[in-house]
Structures are given as structure tokens and as C-alpha cells.
Subunit: 356 residues, 2 copies
């Protein structure tokens, strides 16, 4: 449970305090932003009530702008993700921009120390007054982490950040999740060494707007360029998204350590982001992402209620095992569970829109 | 609604008739199989009851074997899918095998005539006594089609078919669905002509165990080989699934029209299928597919009940629009809907396993 210490003085469900917090967020105060994200991460009902009230207050104050560009970034351990974020973030603040960096990784998939490690490895950026770095919200399930992350992104935008970088180590379905809450998606790779594990996880290459091959310096430079060319070829085989410009998806090689190529990454992101805003693609996509998030949250809540229904909880595990063993069909088992939950006599088939 | 005509004599919820149908299916009778699939496609409660009883009878008769190899096949219009299926199916029946071909496409995504067209285009195979061709079940939603298709696959296996080919034109999420109900997935392409539309839809390449480039004959032969080489290169960049043999995923070029390369496709499918059975991968995967199908059916039913709840139905569309317009956050809207469905006072957050 999120710790709201005495120092952060527990908020009463009092309009004035929520309004005050909203005002401070809209004024760009980092501490207010941090407190709001902590509040939003809590699942306690009273905290959820305050979070919803906070979003309401921000909307009324016209602070829920959508100007911030949301960049998703996936990078497996070893590709230099922290070095890249430090270089990229530092470049952006150098341009006068305010940059938020949110980590998104379900805790069940993290190896020890990576949450704290991220922040300490980006030493310069973590001390930059125009940067805001937040470790991943805790949470065992992807759905829970997704909800918290979406709300954090919205809050960062309300606090006036120009760029919100949402980064993940890319375990499980986290890339898909991050792509579903951002405008542009970058995939960071190291030069291929012939090692099988260097291959891109299935399903991720197709998410990328840009494949960025890091460590293009010294001895690895030729390998980095070969890897870049390989991915450029592979990306050409993928059907372009309707509405994307000609040069997307793209593959490039950089050296984050030397801050070489970082400017080019930003320029390409800007060109793509501008294109997508001008063509209306970004607004359409954000609308779709919001609606999908709504449906996902409804599903999550409905399923959660179902799984915790006393009659269902008593039988779920045994039924799942029976399905795995083939002693009951998936559909038969589902009909049984639904009958328990909805209180019909078996077999229960809820009204099916597919009258076949 | 499925039409059960006088000729197919409506089945009474009578054990003996269901047992009789089960016996005939297990004996390999095509007409019994066709009737059972039609019955399973119906969503009427009494038909569902009979279908579940039928599966039960088949299980008791030990007829739900898992010997049949399930091959998924995606091919966009124009790549020669029907020609391939005709050639491939004909080759297999020539080897003495019994082949079932099931089409899987949500009706909302089909262009006119393609259902009937499929069957008439595979003229030889549709007259082959050892082949069984079934058009796609009707259904507007992917979930509804998925359920019917899974049950049809199981019934084909019970009827003793050696190979069940599950094919789709690949619209929407249908490839993912087909991959989730088969053991081996083939992606059929035509030689690349530089046309953007020839690109592989995002998310599909990573599903494929084999990319098969068709029309490698005559003038197109060089282009087919180049396309094959391109995809072989792209597939090498993907991380191999844990447990897959070294040569998978693979890319090959064939000419379905000349029946060239069809034997090689089958041999590679066999090698992969044998490998996956021997390593236990196939059984594990089928168990996972079954459990996922169970969870998906439960979700579908729960959501369906929720969407049809009178209080929810009255507000859903307006809330969805408000979410799209940004006047309420996805999470806020979801909390509202769940409160209506579960009967709590707002804001309702069901017990969250992610105590944050």
C-alpha cells in the first residue's frame, strides 16, 4: 500500500485540498506531482476517490492538456538503456524541455535491484531540475501496473512536462502495454553478436516506430551498422501502418555513451510526432487507447469480481486443471463458472450477440 | 441461428441420441461430423446443452484423441491460398491421410462471396472422400467464431482426421486466434512486388513457424526467391521460441499451381510437429491454449452479462464517448460502470490483488 507519511499530510476527502493539489500540479510543482502519483498508485477506495476527484479538478482547471509527447522505450538489460535515457533526457533538458521518465515493469518480472538501480544509474538526470524520474509502480499484475502508469502519464502532462518517456525492460507483455499508452515507440538494441538471445522478442519488432542500435562506437561500430542494416531490411517487409510517413519504421545506430546520434533520434521523433498530430492520427490513437483502457479496466474489474465470488473461487482452480487435462472442454468449464457467477441453472450461456 | 432441418432430425436432449451421434463421429462418419459442427455452432441454450453432452459422450468413449496435427494457415486474397490448400490437401489424401479444412473468418470482415468461393475454388478437394471442407462459422465477433472453431477442431479430431487445416484470410485479429488453436502456423505470401500492401501485417510474422512464398513459377520465380531470402533474413532476427529446433522459423518458396514444394512443406511440418510432440512442447501448448480459451470464454460471458445489465447498457455508450473525448478518465468511467454492475456505491474498486 502506498505510504502517505505525516510529511505528506494525509489528504482529507475535502475539495479544497484536492483543488490545492491540482493547482500545484498545474503550476508544475514536482513534489505535488510526486504526491499525486503516489496517491494514484494506491488501491485503497478512499485514495481512489481522491484520485478521481483530482482528475476532475485538473480537468475543470483546464490542466489536462495533451501537448506532451509520450515516447515508449523498450530495452533489455545490457543494451544501455539507462545510458541512453541519461543522454537523451540530458539533451532534451539542454533544449529547455521538461522531461519525465516513468519506468513500467510488473514487479513479478523484475530482477532484484533494478527499480532502485535505474534511478541511481541515471545520476546526472536524477539531479536535473527539469527532469522527473519515477520508478515503476509496484504491482504483480500487468493490468494493475498499466492503470497506474496511464494515470501517471496523464499527471505528468498536467504538470507541464514536454516529454514523457515511458520505459520498460521488456518482460512479458510490457512492451505491448507501453506501446498502448504512448505516441511513438522506440526499441533499443545492442549490436547483434550472433547470440540467440539477442534476437528481438516476438511481437516487439512490429511495435517499433524506430529501432535504435546502441553502442555504435569503437570495436562494435561495424557490428552496430550491420545490425542496423539487418533491421532496416526486416522493417521494410512489414506493412506500413495506414497513415504513417514513408520513412517509418526506421532503423538507426547511435552511441549513447558518446551522446552521438541522440539528437537525430529526437529529430526523427519530432518529425513523426508532428506528422501524426497534423494528420489527426495521434488524436485518433489516443482516443482509441483511452477507450481500450476503459474496456480493459471494466474487464479487469468484472473478472476480479467473478474470481472472488465465493462459489467461483471454490471451483476455479479445479476447473482450470480439468481444462488443462482435457477432462472438460474450455467452453463447458466456462459455462459452469458463469452459471455460478450469474446464478443461472446450467448450462448458462449469456445472451450471445452472435446468434449463429 | 443454425438450421436443423427435418432431415437432420432435431436431437432431443436424450442420452441415447447423443451417444449415437458420438459413436458415428468416432467411427469417422462425415455426415455425423457435419451435424455435430452445426449443432456446436448454435448458441441456443438447448443446443449448447446437447453440444456439451456430446463432448462428454465422446470423452467417455475415449474418442477425444489428440493425434491430429492442427495446422494454421493465413493467406491474404491473391496469394493463392485456395490453390495451395487444394494442392496440399490433395497431396495428403494421396498419402492416405484424412484431411479436414476449416475456414475461420468473422463474417463482419469477409468480402462478399468468399465463404462460398472458398469451397468452389477447391473443386477437387471438395469431392475427395478423404477430405472434409467446412466454411467459416457465421458470427460477427472474433470471440464467437473462436469458440465455434475450437469445438469444430476437436470434433474433427474425434472423427479421426489426421490433419486439421485451419485457414484464414487474415483480417483483424484472426491470425492470432488461429495460431492460438493450432500446433504449427504457416504464413502464405505472394512474391513481393514492391507494393506496400504486400508487406506482412504487423504482428503476424512473429506467429509464423514457416513463411511460404507461393507462385514461384515462370516470370515470378526470381521475385519469389528474393522474397523468400528477405523473409529468411527477417526471421533470423527474431528470438527463437524456447524449445524450437534450429531451423524454425523457416522461409520457403513453392508453386502451388504446379504442386512444387508442397511435399517439402509437409515434410517440414512433420519434422516440426514430431519435435514438438517429443519435447512435450505440443502438449504443454495445447494445455495452455485450453486454459486460455477457458479464461477467454469466462471473460466473454462475464463481459456480455455486464454489457447487457440494464443499468450498464443505459450508460455504456455515453461513457465510452466521454472517455474518447477526455471528459472522464478511463479508470473513472470503469469505476462507474463496475459500481452499476456490482451494486456498490461509487467509487467501486473491487478487491485488487495488487495492493499497492
Amino acid at each position: 500500500m502506498a505510504q502517505l507519511t505525516a510529511e505528506t499530510s494525509p489528504l482529507k476527502p475535502n475539495e479544497t485540498e484536492i483543488d490545492a493539489l491540482a493547482t500545484r500540479i498545474a503550476a508544475g510543482e514536482r513534489r505535488a506531482l510526486a504526491r499525486a502519483i503516489t496517491l494514484a498508485e494506491s488501491t485503497r477506495s478512499d485514495h481512489r476517490a481522491r484520485t478521481l476527484a483530482l482528475f476532475d479538478a485538473l480537468r475543470k482547471a483546464d490542466a489536462l492538456g495533451d501537448e506532451a509527447v509520450r515516447i515508449g522505450l523498450s530495452g533489455a538489460p545490457g543494451v544501455g538503456k539507462s545510458t541512453f535515457i541519461e543522454a537523451f533526457g540530458g539533451y532534451l533538458t539542454g533544449l529547455g524541455k521538461r522531461v519525465a521518465v516513468l519506468a513500467v515493469d510488473p514487479s513479478s518480472s523484475l530482477t532484484g535491484g533494478s527499480i532502485l538501480g535505474d534511478k541511481t544509474r541515471m545520476e546526472l538526470l536524477s539531479r536535473d531540475p527539469n527532469a522527473f524520474i519515477r520508478p515503476s509502480p509496484s504491482g504483480a499484475t500487468l493490468g494493475g501496473v498499466a492503470r497506474r502508469s496511464r494515470e501517471a502519464i496523464t499527471l505528468c502532462g498536467a504538470a507541464g512536462f514536454d516529454v514523457v518517456l515511458v520505459e520498460t525492460v521488456g518482460v512479458g507483455q510490457s512492451e505491448t502495454m507501453v506501446a498502448d499508452m504512448t505516441d511513438v515507440f522506440l526499441l533499443l538494441l545492442a549490436p547483434g553478436g550472433g547470440d540467440d538471445l539477442q534476437g528481438v522478442k516476438r511481437g516487439v519488432m512490429e511495435l517499433a516506430d524506430m529501432v535504435v542500435v546502441n553502442k555504435a562506437d569503437g570495436d562494435l561500430k561495424p557490428a552496430a551498422e550491420r545490425t542496423r542494416a539487418d533491421y532496416a531490411g526486416a522493417l521494410r517487409l512489414l506493412r506500413r501502418r495506414p497513415g504513417d510517413p514513408e520513412n517509418i519504421p526506421a532503423a538507426m545506430s547511435i552511441s549513447a555513451l558518446r551522446a552521438e546520434g541522440v539528437e537525430e533520434v529526437w529529430q526523427r521523433v519530432c518529425v513523426l510526432d508532428d506528422w501524426r498530430r497534423e494528420t489527426g492520427w495521434r488524436d485518433r490513437r489516443r482516443r482509441e487507447q483511452a477507450v481500450r483502457a476503459f474496456e480493459a479496466e471494466v474487464e479487469r474489474g468484472a473478472l476480479d469480481a467473478l474470481r472472488h465470488h465465493p462459489k467461483v473461487a471454490a471451483e476455479w482452480t479445479a476447473l482450470e486443471l480439468a481444462v488443462a487435462n482435457g477432462t472438460i472442454t474450455p467452453e463447458g468449464a466456462a459455462a459452469h463458472i458463469l452459471a455460478l457467477f450469474l446464478g443461472h441453472s446450467e448450462p448458462a450461456t449469456p445472451s450471445d450477440p452472435d446468434k449463429g
